[in-house]
């Protein structure tokens, strides 16, 4: 299979702290790849580097073979690389529905010329976008709060809104940063189903950071374990769970002493 994202020998330090240490990995096209690791392993930093939110010190990031190293996030968005945030971001002064309607690109209203001179065209596209946003908001179960300011939603609802954002446009690869944290169990089931469906029907590739092992086990194959800024092991969830190195990284060396 062709790889969707290639990370090659990436390094990143904050001051004297080396967070990403000669890290290389690849995410296969059409896969749902899990990225796990103990706290401080550099998962979110790696996400930010791939998504263009952080400049890297050295190395390369490729999207389907194309060099996207240090490209700004908005450019990557148009190339089909979307992300969610670990701490949910929202446009707090817009309603939940408006938040979703901000996303779609290449609308006629984008250019000033069209906004002034072709109001009819803009309006018909707006109607289309609104229709899609309503579908998405139904799907993520936020229909009843669609006209509330997004800033007033609960943490879990903001997470759902984040996922909804990625469904507003035709993405190629979506980076999900702890999408399950703070979302209740029933809803979580829906989320997983939804992610699987997007993957199967729309061909989305997912790279998922997650602490919830059940979700990783249900969703992800393969799983990549990151520790101290580089890849420790990669494999199916069973392989990972039985790998002594991984157990040590998660539970510390004391595990050996007791066995």
């Amino acid at each position: 299979m062709a790889s969707m994202i290639d990370v090659q020998h990436v390094n990143k330090a904050f001051g004297g702290l080396r967070v990403i240490n000669d890290c290389s990995l690849s995410v296969e096209s059409g896969s749902i790849t899990g990225l796990i690791g103990p706290n401080g392993a550099g998962k979110s930093t790696l996400f930010n580097i791939i998504a263009g939110a952080l400049p890297l010190d050295s190395g390369q990031v490729l999207l389907e073979g194309e060099d996207i190293t240090n490209r700004p996030a908005n450019e990557l968005f148009h190339k089909g690389l979307l992300r969610t945030f670990q701490i949910a971001h929202e446009f707090s002064q817009m309603t939940a529905l408006e938040n979703l309607m901000m996303v779609p690109t290449a609308q006629a209203g984008e250019s000033l010329f069209n906004a002034w001179l072709k109001p009819g065209l803009v309006r018909s596209q707006e109607t289309e976008v609104r229709r899609r946003a309503l579908e998405v908001i139904d799907f993520i179960g936020l229909h009843h709060v669609r006209n509330e300011l997004a800033g007033n939603l609960s943490g879990g609802q903001k997470k759902l809104l984040e996922l909804g954002r990625t469904m507003m446009t035709d993405a190629r690869v979506v980076l999900l940063d702890e999408i399950a944290a703070g979302v209740n169990r029933t809803l979580l089931g829906d989320l997983v189903t939804n992610i699987e469906r997007l993957n199967r029907e729309m061909g989305y590739t997912f790279l998922v950071i997650e602490h919830d092992m059940d979700m990783i086990a249900r969703l992800c194959d393969p799983v990549i374990v990151l520790a101290q800024g580089s890849v420790m092991v990669e494999g199916s969830i069973e392989e990972i769970q039985n790998n002594p190195e991984v157990i040590e990284a998660y539970f510390g060396a004391s595990q050996d002493a007791t066995t």
């Binding site: 996030a73 908005n74 945030f85 929202e90 446009f91 002064q93 901000m102 209203g109 906004a115």
Partner: protein, 334 residues
Amino acid sequence: MNELVFFINNVIVAGSVTGSIYAIGAVGVTLVFSIMRFAHFAHADMMTFGAFMVLLLTMAFPGAGAALGLPTAVVMLPLAMLLTAGLAVGIDKVFYKPLRAHGVKPIVMVIASLGVTLMLQGLIRLFAGTSGTSLYVDDRKEIFRLALPFEGVRAPIVVTEPQLILFVLTIASVVGLHLFLSRSRLGKAMRAMSDNPDLARASGINTNLIVAVTWVIVGGLAAIAGTLLSLDVTFKPDLSFFLLLPIFAAAIVGGVGHPYGAIAGGFVVGFAETLAVFNWGVLLRPFRDSLPEWLANAGNLAFVGTEYKIVVPFFLLVAILVWRPTGIFKGKVI
């Protein structure tokens, strides 16, 4: 009735003039704050630059306005707006963008803008000198006297041509800005960026473009405010600079980062200034006979003397912030 006309001339007209200029100035300040999160002190000198461009263009093409029946300075305004917008984008590229790229704290940007303001002021002084120059180079200021059809009213309502133009342009800019922010996709992207820049980028919004567009709007508005001020008074290199603090007061009173708040704040501050220095004794004159002697003979009944006018916006600022800590409109984002 003559007293009422006096009131209209000195409070309603004068307050609207000051208010309009503060309002347009404060909108510029507030837009920069909402998108880039720093207090842009060079705004007043961008106003001066705009007026200076109008002065140069008017001297270069005298008589151009006569064909259209407008003062030449007003005809040259659109061109000056473009030049000032260009200056604003250029200043951002050279001075602010490198700082932003380093992720400096807002206070560093504020100090940089202070540097820009001194530099701009020095440059303009170098070419324009320090004395006042009328923007009416080739034509003269029309003054409209509106006589009221009432018995015994001698004094007319006086409005000058630049004041009328000021009112028209203020309304036009406010309506235009409102339509832009609420209707156009770019305006909505500005709102999004002022709310959450990271998310805006992750949603595919080109934030560099938004910053550039903001500077174009801010430059254009600064040119309008500076030119209208100079038309009403005369062109002086430091005229706008002395309005910087009241303009900031207006932006904060209205709720910083909120364009409609800035407009409201501008008029609140403008009217507060004129009301505070207005001699209320004039209005009491018709009732002189029925008033107690100490009140009837009081000379000047203004709240503060004209020389303390500058204090008023700041008194109001503190008073309003105590009442509403985020300004009249809730500030921070567009």
